[in-house]
Amino acid sequence: MIASRMISAALGALAFFASRASSQNVDRSKRPNVGAPPTFKFPKVETHTLANGLRLIVVEDHALPLVSTRIVVGADSTLDPVGKEGLYAITVGALRAGTTSMSPDQLADAFADVGTTVAPTGFTTTTPAFARALALAGDMLVHPLFDQAGIDRRKAAHAATARRLAQTPFTLPRHLFYAELFGASDPYVRSLVPTEASVGGITRDEVLRFYDEHIRPNTTTVVIVGDVNDATARKEVTRVFGGWRSRPGPTSKESAAATATRPTTIYLCDVPGTQAYLYVGSAGPMLSPDFYALDLAAAISGARMQQTLREKRSFMYSGNAGLVSRRPSAPSAYVGSTSLNAAKADSALVEWLSLLKGLGDTRGVTAQELDAIRRNRIGALPARIDGPDSLAARVVEMVRDGLPLDFYDTYAARVASVTGAEVAAAASKYIDTKHLVIVATGDRAILEPALRAANIAPVIVVDPNGKPIEP
């Protein structure tokens, strides 16, 4: 993205519309000299813990008459038992289907009064409606009705979601990719594809048990961001959640470790259509001393991907590359993905692997690339907290990813100090082109001969469950 592009016919083309420019007097041949970039400061983060163990994080932001509240419970879909994928989502969803004192209709009427739909996991509303909305969210989280009808409605909704997900083009390649990376039985991998069968088999007793085992104050964090002061937030949260009885017990299971690294392999699955979906990546740490260098390496790989696969070769419309975080202690991943013309998938992979290899070998990153990506990561920070919802999202990420709450206070300085050599070393270590998982889904008749002929890596044809198909 950074290096400039030479366009051979630029001068000729300039003459094409030259008349409009001729009458102007401002000199645009030089970029303006602008002042130093503003210093980024993440707003002050206050934390409190209630007597029952519930954690409260408050970030005051009075620019708008809005409060964004997010309630992070100490559970997620990686806790779903085998064959019961969807249990976490149905449990949390069923919380909305009435409380011991409010019917679904009464809840919906109350939502209209506060002007927004309130979920047990959060809401955004105007300042005057904050306390009422928090009380509604707390009532749903702490006093759920969990009647059979409400659970059945939620199951029907999640079965529909599972059906919709199954027909969405990126679902299969994404699942195959993570299954190859972490193993098909890894809880995170299973959580990616709840099925109609797994959702349909979930019973009310299982929902009650899941709630009882995993939803409790001492593993819950309430994040409140916006136009409310710290004391008011504490008072209201204590009023709503103070009586919630804490219960001990284990709350989380870690995912399995990543499977042992294997030589780079292409897993190909036959899916009709003119486009191919490609996933390329490897397991790697989210948190390590190398984090900032790896973060920049991943970002540079995304910029190069855009520059090469879109701007230079016109293979793709859009693509992404970056670090994907998972829960603390579990393996994270470097992942790149795109969809593109199936007939160009072989050429695209050759270019893609070459640019990844270039990051970590002697070619490394250019000073210009490093400068641009640092500016981008630091300069974009204010836009990433533009408004209470975005700010709350960043806090929730820190909570979920196990990052220290001062992460953004030091981020800019840490990024600014990363050297090109460190980026190249991190790329070499964690984006190792000799040990990548590559998944391609698309028309096998187009993809298989081309990928084999390109001799990028061994090609294994798999079925939609990842099982190799005999040649």
Binding site: I2, S4, I7, R28, G115, E311, S390
Partner: protein, 490 residues
Amino acid sequence: MPLLARRHAPARTIELTILLALLGTGGRVVHAQRPDAAAGASSLRPLAYTRIALSNGLIALVNEDHSSPLVVVDVWYHVGSKDDKPGRTGMAHLCEHLFNEGSPNLDQTEKAFYNSIGGTSPHYAATTEDITHFFIAVPSNELETVLWAESDRMAAPFARADAKQLSGVREVIGQERDRNVENFPFGVARELAVAELFPVGHPYHMTPLPPMADLYSATIDDLETSCAPYYVPNDAVLSISGDVNASVVRGLIQKYFGGIPRGAAIARPSAAPVSLTGEKRVVLEDSRANQPRLQIDWPVVGFSHPDRLALRALASALSLNRFGRLSTLLINDRQLATTVSVDYYDFEKAGVFEILVVPRPGASMTTIETLVDSVMASLPSTPLTARELERFNDYNATSAVSSLETRFARADTLAHGEIFAGDPVAYAKQVAAARAVSPSDVQRAIGRYLTNGRLVMSLVPAGKLDLISKPNLPFRNVTPPSSVRAKVAP
């Protein structure tokens, strides 16, 4: 880049009852007056802005907010797919892509350049039926850099375009269409629907990302007639929100844009009101889809029409939460559907009112259509209640505030008002009007627009014609080859 028809996106079209008064006043806010709820406030002010008009026709809108050191620059050009000429469909979108390929003094794409100075954007550029815009957030010290780059491409638009670049951009757009339309389940439903609702030659007959055939016959010479006339100061609105000083902006705008000559006056396409003479019934099959859906569309009026608010109130009464008349009946009472949505797409000069139902497995779409019709038929005898209108307004009130959280949304809202209504805070002017919508206003709108002149689409997995609604009535199968060229999904 994204080419979705605009739903009634709250940021742009929702009326404000609680308005942000934070801007230009050091971030001070005025709160809603009703202590127990979000709604009902009346003492709030719309977004504060400064409007700068240059002699060449350029309008700049500046919304100051010094609470964070960033600024959004959002340049709107009043050209969209409704300006595409017959035989040249997709050109407005092609222009958008080519406009992002550098300028005389910038030898890289604008996206790459902005990223390298700390910029970020959800999409960088977008083309809709009505407008094309380019939007970026940068650290506030880089404002002048963005104005420099934006003026460089406006002064000599498409200066770096040549046949090679056109060819490359066309391939990228082909992949965009493949990804979002042709390889996506029922991805062609939108373009098939508007083609049925609006006649050939009507400006909304086509979408911004139509089939590629016309683009493959486009040449570099077409830019002169199809793109360049619109990329002129008198067709542009430069909307800025963030940590800037309006008087400084005024000087910079004059410096960088003041010398760009005014373009020729632009002839806008007229959009005659459309009403279908009777019901059209069509079927779309898709081999990628695994569940059917029922979609019912009516051609209605657009953004500036007074009946727009009544149509929005009706959409709310039909689908809001548990109280929506259709959603309650189909999801909760009869348990025939998992999704019921009622949307009003308000384009500049026309609109589409749409009911979309995703049935539960095994539920009959014929039964669902019959129930939808019974609810619609009952509206004259059971008009909207005061409580239904109150809920509509209460939700509006809150989303009016929350939808303007980001500086992108504020810049968009101001530019949208300026271009569609000649008033950057047009949305605010509609506050009283929304509160004043009466049950009889809704009744009148129903009688006028939601008639038998409608489109009923059965969308089914390929080969599953037994699932279509009311199969005994005449229908046309409008499935394009691209939707069934694949193997039938398991």
